[in-house]
């Protein structure tokens, strides 16, 4: 391989201008690929983080209650008028078992049983509609880390303590340490102490969420000993739908993934990924054609030299390697420069751009782009290299 690579490098150095121009072309192409891909990946992970920062990946709920209609006897026709049933707050049956089973599934990262239902918060004459969330804090924190969003007081639920949203606190004029009366239907009520105030940044949640412990929520909502919701996070975000289906089959419960509740977002993400792939494909294609055309010209220019090398005993396979190597070297160096340039562009964007979010450049992107460009370079060199290796030495030497 020594002589082949030596000839390849010398040829490229001799055709400096050509080499430099195509290198610039490859670099720009790879830089565009790296920048666009990093930008889209950053954008997507930012959107996902924002969306899923305040919700679980999968919610498991009791199945909907349905009317059971007795089938009509054979030979008779039944006229049925059916009103769909209102969905009561119901507990998940044997929820401790369900929780323990979910804990054992390898694709699930965290499991948190929740008691959730509507209520009113009252201070003096003011009523506000709220959502009560009865949680087991260590488990719930693995799903949504509320303690990092506390702006006043501390994250503490249980023993009459509650944590409420910033907007609700402002609306009711509450601060940490104040008392708050919660009233749910059927005359159930409790007075709790506001231990902490959180601000997630999502208006609806900051205005409505009141965290208490499981027991308090159970007694407020009349679900003694029960829970009506299990929140889950999964290891592979985009496998959430499959995991949800599996849980449904396993438990007979209703399991909804974030992909189902945010179908439009998933659609948008998929379209973005597709458009990135299309851009990458066409840029790679034009880079490949660039390399192929430069090498094709080089083969024509060096026809006579190829003939002489053949006369001196170089084998066809060696000539093939000389040109494949040139393609590979062009791809490798061009893409290494391009990837660095793309990385620099991302850093400039992070530093001087709109600063809405930080773009990370994953190392596999740099490595991948370089590897792909090298392979593309070799593939692009195939046709010219093949032509060079097939040159008839007699014709080639006479070639002027």
């Amino acid at each position: 391989m020594w002589i082949e690579s030596t000839i390849a490098v010398k040829f490229m150095r001799q055709g400096r201008t050509q080499t430099a121009l195509i290198m610039v072309g490859i670099s720009v192409g790879v830089a565009v690929i790296v920048f666009i891909t990093a930008l889209i990946l950053g954008l997507q992970s930012n959107i996902i983080a924002r969306t899923l920062g305040t919700q679980s990946h999968i919610r498991v709920q009791p199945p909907d209650e349905k009317n059971i209609i007795t089938p009509s006897r054979e030979g008779s026709v039944a006229l049925v008028t059916e009103d769909k049933r209102a969905q009561r707050l119901r507990s998940i049956l044997n929820w401790q078992d369900v929780r323990d089973t979910l804990d054992t599934l390898p694709e699930i990262k965290a499991v948190s049983p929740v008691v959730s239902g509507p209520a009113f918060a009252r201070k003096g004459e003011v009523f506000k509609s709220i959502s009560i969330l009865g949680i087991d804090p260590p488990r719930y924190e693995k799903i949504i880390p509320i303690s990092t969003d506390i702006v006043s007081g501390k994250f503490k639920v249980g023993a009459g303590d509650a944590v409420i949203g910033k907007i609700l606190a402002d609306d009711l004029g509450l601060g940490a340490g104040n008392k708050l009366r919660i009233e749910s239907g059927d005359g159930r009520a409790a007075v709790v102490t506001v231990a902490g105030i959180f601000e997630i940044g999502v208006r609806d949640l900051d205005a409505r969420f009141v965290y208490v412990d499981l027991k308090q929520a159970q007694s407020l909502l009349g679900l003694y000993g029960g829970i009506n919701l299990i929140d889950l996070t999964v290891r592979d975000l985009f496998a959430a739908e499959a995991t949800a289906n599996r849980i449904s089959r396993l438990t007979g419960l209703k399991a909804e993934s974030w992909m189902q509740t945010n179908a439009q977002l998933v659609n948008a993400l998929a379209s973005q990924s597709l458009s990135t792939s299309i851009i990458t494909f066409f840029v790679a294609l034009s880079v490949a054609f660039g390399i192929a055309s430069v090498l094709a010209i080089s083969v024509t220019q060096r026809t006579r030299e190829i003939g002489i090398l053949r006369a001196m005993g170089i084998r066809r396979s060696q000539i093939l390697q000389v040109f494949l190597l040139q393609g590979g070297i062009l791809g490798l160096i061009g893409s290494a420069v391009g990837a660095s340039f793309g990385y620099a562009l991302v850093m400039v964007f992070n530093q001087f751009g709109p600063k809405l979010f930080y773009i990370d450049v994953p190392s596999y992107l740099i490595g991948g782009a370089t590897a792909v460009a090298t392979v593309v370079g070799i593939l692009a060199a195939l046709a010219p290299a093949w032509r060079a290796s097939r040159l008839d030495p007699v014709q080639a030497i006479r070639y002027v």
Partner: protein
């Protein structure tokens, strides 16, 4: 395998046709019989279009005869695969062309080393030494690291001769090696062939137009209309 007692080159009824099978099929060489022994110093002469270059290309294993057999050091070559022909060519034959044909990207020294590098990769120190000696022999000891475009035509042809000799070939073929040079330089180049013929014992076969030079050869092979006369 090569046979030490066999002639360097032997042609038996070698014919070459072009456009075979088409109405304008034309036979260029009509049954050439030729033997070249070790140390032979022969000139191949003949008018333009007599088939000199075609014959030289066949002898140099760059082209194949349509029929007949060509033996290099006793080895028949007609049935050889391209790889084997290429290897035999690299091992036993040195070429010098009319237009020196150096590889422009390499220095004079590297050009001379090229046949060895093609065969064995990075050259051993003794090979580099051999190449330097050869370049000194052709009078270019001070131009080792010059690129071809920094050398005159005569100097480039000297490099080409050194390159043809680096593998110590049994047969040195030259196609109008002086055709592109002035008379004085041509005589010097010719003298170099003679010198190496005596020094290394390699057989030399020169195609030339120059009648004066051909008369100084030990033997003159004349080709007329594709036949030796």
């Amino acid at each position: 395998m090569s046979d030490a007692t066999a002639p360097v080159l032997s042609l038996v009824d070698v014919r070459k046709s072009y456009n075979i099978g088409s109405p304008n099929e034309v036979e260029i060489l009509h049954g050439i019989n030729l033997t070249v022994q070790e140390r032979d110093f022969s000139a191949l002469v003949g008018p333009s279009g007599s088939g000199k270059s075609t014959l030289l290309n066949i002898i140099g294993l760059l082209d194949q005869p349509t029929s007949g057999e060509l033996y290099i050091l006793g080895q028949p070559t007609r049935e050889m695969e391209d790889e084997a022909r290429t290897a035999l060519r690299g091992d036993t034959i040195g070429f010098v062309f009319q237009f020196h044909h150096l590889i422009q990207a390499f220095t004079a020294l590297e050009n001379v080393l090229m046949p060895l590098m093609i065969k064995g990769g990075k050259p051993k120190p003794e090979f580099v030494e051999r190449a330097k000696n050869l370049l000194s022999e052709v009078g270019l000891g001070d131009h080792l690291n010059k690129k071809p475009d920094e050398l005159s035509g005569g100097q480039q042809q000297r490099v080409a001769i050194a390159r043809a000799l680096i593998t110590r070939p049994a047969l040195l073929l030259a196609d109008e090696p002086t055709g592109n040079l002035d008379t004085k330089t041509a005589a010097e180049i010719f003298a170099l062939f003679r010198k190496f013929n005596q020094l290394f014992g390699c057989a030399v076969l020169l195609v030339t137009h120059d009648a004066r030079l051909s008369t100084t050869c030990d033997r003159t092979i004349t080709l007329v209309d594709g036949q030796t006369v």
